[in-house]
Structures are given as C-alpha cells and as structure tokens.
Symmetry: T
C-alpha cells in the first residue's frame, strides 16, 4: 500500500490578490487556478496530495508550518515537500525561515518560488532569508515556477 504524503504549498502576503494586483508583473492567473493545477499535477503520483495555505500574516504561516511539522514528526501526516512563495516576507522573516528549517533538517525537500524575477526589481527584493535553506530557487517563471517546483518534489519521491 502506498504511503500517503502531502506537499505543502504556502503563499505569503498579497498573493491572494493575484489576477487583480499589478497584472503586468504578476500576470492574470489567480492563486486558486495555480493551486488547482498543482493538485492535478500531484495526482500523477499515487498517495500524494497537496495542502495549500495562504496568509498575509507571518505568525499564521509559522503556525501552519509548526502544526504540520508536529504531525510529520509524529508520523501521523508525512510531508513530501514544501513549495513556498513567501512573497515580501521572504525578505524580512526569520521566523518563517526557522519554521522551515525544522523540515530541511529532516531532509524534506523545499523549493522557494517567486512569480516575478525578483532580481529585476528593487534592491530590497534581492535577498531572501529562505534561499540558503532551499534545495532550489525559482524566480520569474510565473505559474510555471510552481509546476517546476512540484516536478522537482515528485522526482525526489521517486528517486
């Protein structure tokens, strides 16, 4: 019997505004369309599912990651990987960084995603507290970036 595992897809501040917010930078695809497409992608691998979480609040994102980690640690709900677009919090939050580190310490794959290429934008978007923990960082691919992240995590499950 295939073991049930979950890919956590976490989105940070202002990302629920996708499709509405500065479309010349972030495009017209909504966040629910992205999540739906990832769920579909996960179905290609038996026993895998997607759990998504969006919040404008650093604390709530940490809450979510902590809660899921406790279950992962207790082996009641294993986490297959993390796809995280912490948006503006990438540049300012060490709390989220620390919450993710519990996973990477246990070798759970983690991919950092940004819709836009942050290196083309303001200087303060060039540094992310999360990148040094990530297996991979993808910026500027738009919704395709989430997909590539998911592919990477799927491949890790197989490998």
């Amino acid at each position: 019997m295939t073991k049930q595992k979950t890919v956590l897809v976490v989105n940070g501040p202002n990302l629920q505004m996708l499709g509405l917010r500065q479309v010349e930078i972030y495009g017209k695809t909504t966040l629910s369309e992205i999540i739906a497409s990832l769920a579909e992608q996960a179905q290609g691998q038996p026993g895998l599912q997607v759990a998504d979480f969006q919040s404008n609040s650093e604390g709530q994102i940490v809450d979510f990651l902590n809660e899921r980690f406790t279950r992962h640690h207790q082996k009641t709900a294993l986490v297959a990987g993390l796809v995280v677009n912490a948006a503006s919090l990438s540049h300012t939050s060490i709390a989220i960084r620390d919450a993710i580190e519990m996973y990477t310490q246990e070798s759970v794959p983690f991919v950092e995603v940004h819709l836009s290429n942050v290196f083309r934008r303001e200087q303060f978007r060039h540094h992310s507290h999360l990148s040094a923990l990530a297996d991979a960082v993808i910026t500027g691919l738009g919704p395709l970036g989430y997909k590539a992240a998911m592919s990477f995590i799927l491949a890790k499950q197989e490998g």
Copy 2:
C-alpha cells in the same frame, strides 16, 4: 449626485496606546481624538468619509488594505486616499508596502505620517519602506500631521 468615497486612515503597532505611551515624544492626544478630528475635517467635503483601522499586526493591516482594495477595484467602495502611520512597521514591513502599491499604481493619493520626527531619533527609524511610494511624508507635526495629510487628499479630490 456626489460619488461616495472613503479616506482610509491606517495606524500601526502601539498607536492605540497614544496618550498613555511616552507622552514627551508622542503627546497626550489619543488616537480616537485624532480620528474624530479627521472625520470632522472630511465632512467639509460632500460624499467623503473616513474609515480608520489600527492593528499591532502586519498581517491584519495587509488584510484590511487588500479587502478595501478589492472593493475599490470593483468600484463598489472607492478609496479617495490613504493616510498611513505604520509606526515601527514602516521600517520593517515590505508586505504593507506591497499592499499600498496596488493603490498608488492606480493613482490613489497616499501620505505617510509619523507623529514624532523620526529623523531626530534612532538610526533604525530613518528609513521607511513606505516613503518611496508616498506622495508626501510628514513627520513630527503630531496630530497636525494627520490633518495636513487629510487636507492634501481633500485638495486632490477637488483638483
């Protein structure tokens, strides 16, 4: 018929403590007195009202700004301008900056206000992530600063 429009007045961490907190720096006027005075000032212009929001939480401020922006964007509740005193979050929050940028991209006037003159205080208060987006920045005028910000926004409605 005059179109109904709202000026959003947003206050950040510790500002609900006004009147109580370090009065030699912040003065004795309470936040509700400031808001009341702004509401009165807005009444001078038909169809204009004030909606205020205070929170110690970055996430909740972003929630408020996002929710109001959605209505503004859908033209169900137009925003006439933003008066924002993000207090300590001015120096640390890119999330609030990004939430405000949606408004400034649509030319909604935005004034950044600080009660005390931040440039007289610690070095870490000298940089604000919000200033580069603002039409105007006012520091040190005390409650009068909110009033000047409101006057600026009122003038923009007329102009």
Copy 3:
C-alpha cells in the same frame, strides 16, 4: 500586606516547538517545563507570580504587552519584570521593541534571553533590536538562562 506583582515571560516564534525542534541546538526541555520551573522559582517570593505568553505572531505579542502595560500603568496589575525570548523576532521586530520600551521607561526590569548562544550561529542572529533596552542579555545557558533572568528580577524586587 505584600503587594501582588507579576513577572511576564514572553516567548516568540517556534518556541512552543521546544523538545521537538533541532534538539542538538535547543535541547529537550519543553516550554511548559521551563514555565513551570519559573513559576516555582517565583513562589519563593511572596506576592509574586508568573504570567507567560507564547505566540508566533509579532502582533499578538505586542497586543499582550500593550494590554498588560495598560493595567500596569493603571496600577491594577503591576508588572515586576519582563523575561523575553523573542526568538527570531528579536532580530526583525521594532514593534516589540517599542512595546517593551514603555516598561523600561518606567524602570520595569527587562532581561532578554536566548536558549542557544546566538553569537555562535548565523550572522543575522547577532543583532537584536531588544538588547539596547535590556538590563541584561543571556544567551546559551539553555533553560538555566530563564532561571538566571528570574533571579535577577527577584533580586530587583528585594533590592
């Protein structure tokens, strides 16, 4: 009659995960064990009690500190001292700093505690916005650090 006073023990993000999270750094003692031990220590001094608060959210920590300060200021519930381990928020939060400053302005003793020695770890953990306000800073002593902080505050009550 001995005046009733409370020592506030505040813990920041990810600290409720103690005992579970990276035990080679943070040890096996849980947060509730630490709090229990502090409560016991406080009992050694008549009229003193411990109130603890943990949150992953900067805003909630500020809420807690504001609410307690109002009561302290109104002299309905005096605060004997602050023991604060703001964890990752130490390095990023000016809002918590400002909420604590109201206490230090009124000479309430404040000790900053970190379980691990932050100076042995990543560069971004070397600076804390809180340290310049603190009476004392203790890092690396593990649970003993809270205890030493409490002893310091107890001594101040006596002194």
Copy 4:
C-alpha cells in the same frame, strides 16, 4: 500689547525658479505666491509677520540667519519660528545646520519643508543635515507643506 514676532521663511538654491523649473516635479506655483499666502496666513495671529529670504548661496543664507539670530538674541526682533526649504543645500550644508542650531538651542520651532517627496527621488536627496534638528519635516505636500509648517508654528505661539 501683543509682542511683535517674525516667522523666518528661508528658501535655498533654484527655488526662485519655481513655476519655470521642472513643473512636473515642482508644480506651477511661484515662490512669491507661496510667500504671499504665508504672509496672509500669519495675519490670522496678531503681532506675527513673515520675513522671507531666498538665495542660491550657502554663505548668504548663513549671513541672514546669523544677522536675525543676533537681533533675536538681543531681543530687538524676536523670531517665532523657522520654515526652511534649503533645497539641494539640505543635503550638503553643515554651515546652515549650525546656523539653525543656535535657534533650536533656544527652543525656536523649526520646520524643514521640501516641495517634492525627496524619498521618491535620487538616493543623494534622502539625507538632510537639517532633519535631526527639526521639530518636523514635511516633504511632497507642495505649497501646502509651507502652510502646514506655518500652522505648526502658529500653534506653538498659542500653546
């Protein structure tokens, strides 16, 4: 009998070009229109008058401030407050800063004004040698900024 007092309004380099110079940044109002409006505003308070000075030369601005300070110090011509837009010299002149400090040492209110929001412009306009001395700093309000500065000084006379 009301004591006669003067508000000094000092403008720095290139500001006599207002109305002619880069109107998309500085607007169409001329400097004499601004001064006229401030004089009118001052008339609202008995015994108050405005004295304005514009120069492209740091030395002449210091001369003016020194000469007026001597009379203020000798109590032959009291200064009620300073409204200073030192323009580009704000960023480079310590001499003007020192000339102003004589006033602030004697608690004469001082407001720094900039027509445009300097924080939206080049990096070298973000620091002003004057700001750390000012009671308040106003940028980006256009001519309204001078008015708000005057209101602040008027309020100080009353208070």
Copy 5:
C-alpha cells in the same frame, strides 16, 4: 510553413566536466545528456531546434552570442530564446551580460540556469551580472532546471 527558430543553450566554464566534477554538488548527469534531453524536448514544437555551446572562455561565449545575434538581426537564423548557465562567469562577466542584452532588447526570452542552489554556497556566488536581464532565474533544480527553462521558452513561442 512554420518558421525555423533556434533555442541557444550556452554553458560556461567547467560545465563540460559534469559527471566527473564534485558529484555531490553537481550530480552525475553529463552535459551531453542534458543537451540531448533538451533537443528531444524541443522536438515537441515544430520548427524549433536547439543549438548548444560550451566554453571555458568568456571571449568565445561572447563570440558565439555575437555571431548568432548578427544572424538573428539579419533574420537569417532567428533565435527563439536563450538558456544560459554561465557558471562562475555569471558572477564576473559583464561582457556576456552585454552580449545577452542585445537579445533582451529585442524581447528574446532569456532564462538563467544554475545546477546547484548558488544561494546555499559561498557569498561570491550570490550575485550574478545576468540576473537583472533574465526573464527567469532557476537555481538548484539540477538538469530539471534546463528543462523548466526550455518549457518557459516553448510556452513563449506558443503564447
């Protein structure tokens, strides 16, 4: 008739050593295996082909990019997109940056790829002269990164 277009895949210093060099960082896949897989991927879209170039020399990479650009500009051999892993030269070469800019000025899509996550490694690998020109930057996905880059460029052809 479908217009013939080429995706340029450029690899910098030491990348021909893949499979041999520090396999714990770069993996066992060889460069020719990566190229073969990209060629196959391109076949999914009619009229598209891959041209790859590897060199340890900055000058030769610029030669290649210049020569191809001349043909693209003359419309004798159109370039559909650039997939560039300039390896160590990413951090030091402005010449390659300038050679690529000719393409991005004409809206040819450009994706920067790194096999390993450069942000996990030495500080001097954190800045790339190429990133500010790129549509997207992918690091740490291993060979999958090239594939995701190709998918992005294929999607641009369709879109």
Copy 6:
C-alpha cells in the same frame, strides 16, 4: 537668417589661478587663453558665440545658470550647450547639478570637463554629482578637453 545661440563655458573654484597653480597638474595655459581659443573655435559656426563665467562661489554659479536659463526659457537668448568644469564643486555641489538639470531636461547638450584626470588623483575626486546628467565627460586632456567639448556641441548644432 541664422538664429543667435550661445555656448556657456562655466569654470569653478581656483580655475582663475590656472598658469599659476600646481603647473605639473594643471599646466601653464591660463583660463583666458582657453576661453579665447574656444571663442575662436565657435566662430567657425555662424550665429554661435561663447559666454564664459568663472567663480569660486557655488551660489554665483547657480545665479549665472539660473539667469541664463530664464532667458533661454523665454527664448530671448538661446543656449546652444554647456561646457562646465566645476572643479572641486563637482564633487560637493548638488545645487549646481540642479541648476544644470533644467537645461538637460530641455535637451541642451552638456559636457563636463576636467583638466587633469581625476581618476588618477584622490578618491574624493572620483565622484562627480554632474556626471550622471552629462552627455559626455572628459578628464585629463588639459585645454584640449574644452576644445573637444566645444566640437561635440558644435556637431550637435549641425546634426
């Protein structure tokens, strides 16, 4: 009839000392010899003349530039171009920079000239506030630098 136009040649502090001052750096040619030679060069183009101004005072240089700009703007005396050697003020004056920007905003060509190669000298001479506005910067050519600047401006008139 050929329209009358003037090339402004502005020289900053200590440049009237040419021929006398450190001749191993600045050479033996005097400033009036340089100006004479430029006037002669201008004669080669009908309707063009040279107006030169030297001052040790930032304020007077701004006065000159402002006064000439007003006439240029009123089209009573058109300016064909600016040749400016602000000497030491290049490194310290934003006021002169702003006075020049009025011209460059109206596409008047501006060439910055230095007699010596400033990059060979002290670090504090390596940055000029004027360079980012200039069409061209010439250092180290000696009097020939003024000539090349004039040639550039003459060519612009023809082109």
Copy 7:
C-alpha cells in the same frame, strides 16, 4: 575518590578597580567579593575549586591560560570550565581568543561574562572576539552573571 577539578575565573583590564570605578555602571561589589562568592558556590560540589586571575595585560592572561592548559592537557590539573570577563580586551584580543580555543576544542565549557549590558553602551563594545567560542554569554546581570556562569559549569560537571 572524586577527581579534583578547577574552574578558572579570569578577569581583564580595570576589573580590579571594581567598587571604585564608575559605580553607576559597574556597581559597588569588589572583585574579591565576587571571587569569594564563587569559591563558596563551588564548594557545593565535591572536588571542585576556583582559581582566579586578574590582569590588565593581554599577554599575562594568555600566559595564565597557556600554563593551565598545559597542565590540563597533561592531566596533572584538570580544568572544569572557564568563566571569563575579558572586559575591554574582549573587543580587541584575538590572542586571548586563541588561548581559550585550546580549551573549547577539548570541550571544556566556557562562559563569557560582562557586568554591564554591553549592548546598551558604545558601538565598539557590541562585538566580542570571544563570543563565537563561548557556550554562553551573559551581560548586564552584574555579579549575578558570574554566579549563573558557575551554575552552568557546575551543571555540566553533573550532567
């Protein structure tokens, strides 16, 4: 039979002046009172004793640490732990750092102590060469800091 072990208590420049020197910062307790109290505390654990050393000279402190390390290494006089307040030398001495590293390489516990909270004082006191080697750093607790350090080392003996 309990093995005899020594806790080394090392104090740097000006610390023999305690009780005399700036009492508002350093308090009235003398150094010998602190040492006496530590000796007493050590007696609580059989086989443990305290050896203290104070010097104004970096070289003599290194001599002391070297001499003791040689005996520790030869197992003729084991060191149980180090309590070091290097005072001003903390910020400037790599020699003492290197002398201590010999101990930490052999897992001898080391606690850095400062009487005052160095983070409240001048910028040059914020960095200590010793902290990155320490198990724990305690600042601002006054004489209590030594005590807490001793408790930590005693606990390590037991553990």
Copy 8:
C-alpha cells in the same frame, strides 16, 4: 628621416557589433568607420600609423598588448600611444590593466575611451580598472571621443 611610430587602437567585447547593437546608446557608426577615420587623422603627422585590434577575449587583448610591447621595448616597432576602449572589460580586467601599465611605465601616452557616458548608466560601469593609469578618460563623445584621444596623442608627439 622621421621615425616610424604606431598608435595602437584597442577595442574590447561587443564593439565589433557597433552599428547593429543598441543604436540609441552606441549610435550607427561602425567600428571600421571609426578606425578608418583615425587612420586618416594619423596621416596628418608624418611617420605615424594606426594599428587596431578588436577582440571579445581579455586574453587576446593582453596577447596583442604584450606582443606589441616586446617590439616597442626592443625598439623594433615603437608605440606612439594607446587608445583603448576595453568596453565591459574596463570594469573587470586587471590583466589588461597590467598589460597597459608596461607602456605607461615607459611614458607612452594612454587615453581611455567610451562611446557612451558610463556615468549615466548602471553603477557597475562607473569604475574602470584602467582609469587610474590613463592620461585622459573620455566618455560619451561617441566616435568623436576616439578622435579627441588621437589628437591628444598627436599633440604629445609634437610636444
């Protein structure tokens, strides 16, 4: 009999693309047109000729400069001066700098040329490793810059 001497004109990466590459920055003149015009200019002085070299490769430029220097040093082919536009390599190559220094040590005149004004462009183009060696630096004059450089070198031959 006039001694035969050569002016070396060296051009760096991407400069053979002139006329094709970003014409709004670099103009439409091709590199061969520039060289032809310099050769013509040199003919005005008996015994002088131009040798030009363009390469995208730092190493080849150093090879060229080394080879010519050897002949100059052996007095088999004297070099009258260097006109160098190292383009992007100006900002990154110390090897070219060192190859040029052999000439400047023997007082061969050297002029650094850039077609565009590098100080108007990205920060990374503001520093050139070559400038501190140059007799003169000319930026932004376009092809006229080469001409001015040549004039300077011709004047040195005469002088």
Copy 9:
C-alpha cells in the same frame, strides 16, 4: 632689514557669532578678542603681522586665499603661515582645501584649528578635508588653540 611676512588667520561660517553662540561649547571669548591676542603674539617677532578674514561663504574664503596666494607667488606680500578654522566647511569644502594646497605645495606652514574637540561631537564632524594637508591639527583647546598654532608658525620662521 627683516623681510615683512604675514600670517593669514581664516575663520569660517558662524565663527563671527563667538561669544553669542552655544557658549557651553564655544566659550565666551569673541573672535575679535582672539584675533587681537594673535596680533599681539605676532609682534614678538619682527617683520611679522597678522591678516584675518572671516566669512560664512566658501567662495569668499577661496577668493581671499587666491588673492593672497597671487601676491605671495609674485613675492609682493609673502605669507608666513596659515591658521585656518574653517568650521563646518572643514567637513564639506574641497574648494578651500584646493586653495590651501597651493600654499602647502610651496611649503608654507598650515595649522588647522577647531575651538571644540570635534571628535567628541557628531560623526559628521570627525572628518575634515583639510587635515591631510595640514602640518598640525588642534581641536578642543579653545582660543589657546589659535595661540599654539601661531607659536608653531613663529617657530618655523625662526627655524
């Protein structure tokens, strides 16, 4: 016959306010009292006199230094030495620095004087453009500093 020589005593912005301005920093002695005392001191040496100049304007100070240097250079009025307190201009003026350098190039002794100890004050007063040219720098001695400077110059005349 003793050759007539002059010591130039130059004072910068706000120094004519001495005796009036912040007396806790600058003391009560006026500038004319200082000059008078120096004139008296000079009389001790035959053929020596003092010429003083104060201005708030950088340009006028340069004018004065240039004019005197021309006469010194022409040997019509020799300068024995320079005593310069450029006050705030010390930190900002390269023009004055360059005007002084003409003297130091001809070995005229130059002493920089500040009444207050600038190193005890704000960071921006710690660097002076003049110090690297000076024979000696004296800060904090008050009027005695001018006297010591004069003694040094007198000694040089004798030596």
Copy 10:
C-alpha cells in the same frame, strides 16, 4: 598652603626611541628632553609637578593609570591632568580608554597628543579610541604639542 597636584604624562609604544626612530617624521628631540621641558613648564605653577611614564605595554600603562587613579580617588595624590600620547595603542586599545575614563568622569582634564599629524598618514592612524574622551587633541605640533597640552592643563588649574 598650595595643594600638591601632579600632571601625568603617559607615552606609549616606541616613543622611548624618539631621536633615533624615523627622524623625518618624529624629529630629533628625545623623550627625556620633552619630559624635562614639561617639568620646567610645570614649575611655573606652585604645587604642580610632572610624573611621566613610558611603556610599550598596554597592560603596564593601564596598571600605571589604575594605580594613580586609586591614589587620586583616595585623595592621597591628586592628579591635575593627563597628557597622553598612546602612539599606536591609541588606535587599538580600549583598555587604556577605559582607564582614562575614570579620570574624565571626575572631570580631570585630559589632552591627547601626537607628535606627527596622524591625518596625513595611513588610514589606520585616523581613528583614536581616546579622542572621544579628550578635552583636546593635538597632532603634528611635535614637542610643542606636549607644551600646548600642559598650558591647557595649567590654565584649567588657574581657572
């Protein structure tokens, strides 16, 4: 009866080599000649004497200052002032700074002296840990600097 007081004259590393060491920088006067001349100067004031101390060792200088401070504090041997040339230790020693601060806290006048003008020399000699404590700093006057320092202290005794 005049109270007996001592001026401490402290000299740091390598200063006993005066007269021997780099005479073009430090001159030919020996340290004992300087001390002798200061002793003579002190005799001009009844009850004043000079105690000098030279050492190459930071620790010994701190020992000396500590020992003298204890006597001063106990009023058994009052210190009239400090003349300190800590030479190279000025730039590196916080221990000496702290030892001096005990005096300045009790308003004992302190003058920092350097024989050469440190601002003309290497960058690492431009900052002194002692300057921010000093009443005055004198550099470059040679032996005359000690004399001026002594005059300043003598004047303080009288004043």
Copy 11:
C-alpha cells in the same frame, strides 16, 4: 616501480613578460629560467616531473586544468601538486578557482605563488579568489617562492 606523477606549474597573464616587465617589481629572471629550475628541483625525486603552462587567457588556463584533471581522475596521468601564479586573474577569476577546486577536493596539494608581495601594492591585489583553496600562499619571495612551493609539494609526496 615508482609511480609517475606530475607537478603542474601554471602562470597567468603577463608572466611570460618576466625579465622585460617592470623589473623593479618582478626582477630580471625570466619565466623559462624559473621553470627550468623547478624541473631540476623535481628531478631530485624519482618519478616526478614538471608540466608548465602559461596563458594570458582565463579560458585556456581552465582548459588546461580541466584536461589534466580528467587524466588525473582517470588515473592515466596523476597530478602530484599544483603551483599556481594566476597573476591578475587571482583577483578576478572564479572559473580558475573552480577548476582548481576539483583537485583540492581530491587532496592534491595546491600552493598559490606571487612574485611580488601583493599586500604592499594596490588594494585590489589584496584579495585572491584562490587563497581560500590553497594549502599555502607565498608572496614576495620572487623566484624563490616557486621553489618553496615545489619543496612543499615534494615533502607531501614523501610524507
């Protein structure tokens, strides 16, 4: 039978000019004399030979190192050690650094050599990308430096 092994001696840009180039810095010995002397030195150890390579091109040096590493890795031609003087490329080339890292990862000894003492020269020569990989760094010994490097590698073979 002794296994055949090769010491690679790699020299970077401008080093083939030795004996000709700035002899006051680099001396008169030619590169071939240095190589000859190393070959002779290697003969002292059976089975050891020297292979030298000089190039002005970063790419060719990487080619050489890659090609040799492939053979070393395939054990067809073992490398005993690397003696590298990358000259100016030491400061700018990460590509060479990466090519060397393949060797150091397999514990091949690597010594970095510079003829002159780079720390005595310009600031930009003080950092080398290669030093952090090297077993040893030798600067300023001249040709003797290569010899010492070779001795070190020979000793490693024996050891």
Copy 12:
C-alpha cells in the same frame, strides 16, 4: 674578516604551545625544533646567527625589537633580517608594526610567516598589519615557511 650579523626570529602569542595546540592546524613540530632547524640553516653562512624571541605580550615583543634596533642602529649588533610570526597579534598590533618599520626603513629584510594558511580560516585572520611592510609573506607552509623565509634572508646577504 666576516662581519657578525643576526637574524631575529620572533614568535607571538600561543606559539610556545606548538606541538600541543590544535595539531590538525598547527602540526606536531615544537617551536624549539623550528628554531633549532633555523639555527642550523644559518650556520651555512659564515658570520650569521639566529636570535629567537617568543612572547604572549605585544609590549615585550616591541621591547625586544626596540632593544635590538638600538644596537643595530649603533652598529654594535647588526641585524641581517627579521622572520616574524606574530600570530594573532598580526591582526591587531600596530605597535609591533611600528617597531618593525624602523628596520624596514633601513632596508633590513623582513619576512612575515604563518604556519597555517590564514586565508582558509576566519575572516578576522585575513588582514595583517605587518604585511604591507614585509618583503614577503608566507602562509600555510608549516615549519617549511620559516625555512623559506631564512633562505630569502640568506640570499639577500649574499646578493
């Protein structure tokens, strides 16, 4: 008759612990073994001897260097060269630097030696105050480094 000369071999803090201290970095050879080997090496050259000095104290090292310099200067005991491993003091001591400079000013050869490659270790070991004075710097060669330094000095005697 051969003139008697001495090579001074100076070792700084913790180096007397060689053989005992972190052997994986510093090796097993003791300091006396190194000195013995150097003495033997010196015997190869008639009239040459070695004088070694080790101290943990900066001041004592300066004392030694001063005392020897006085004798060298008086020509009573000539110094042939300096081999200095100041260990941790290299990074912090300007006093030792100044003591050495007396020798280098008189062209006595000076080689800086470190046993380990400091560039592979912590950032604070990368800068040495001594390097800019040294003829040569050798790091990482272990005891061989001293030997190479001695060879260099021997060669200078011969040359």
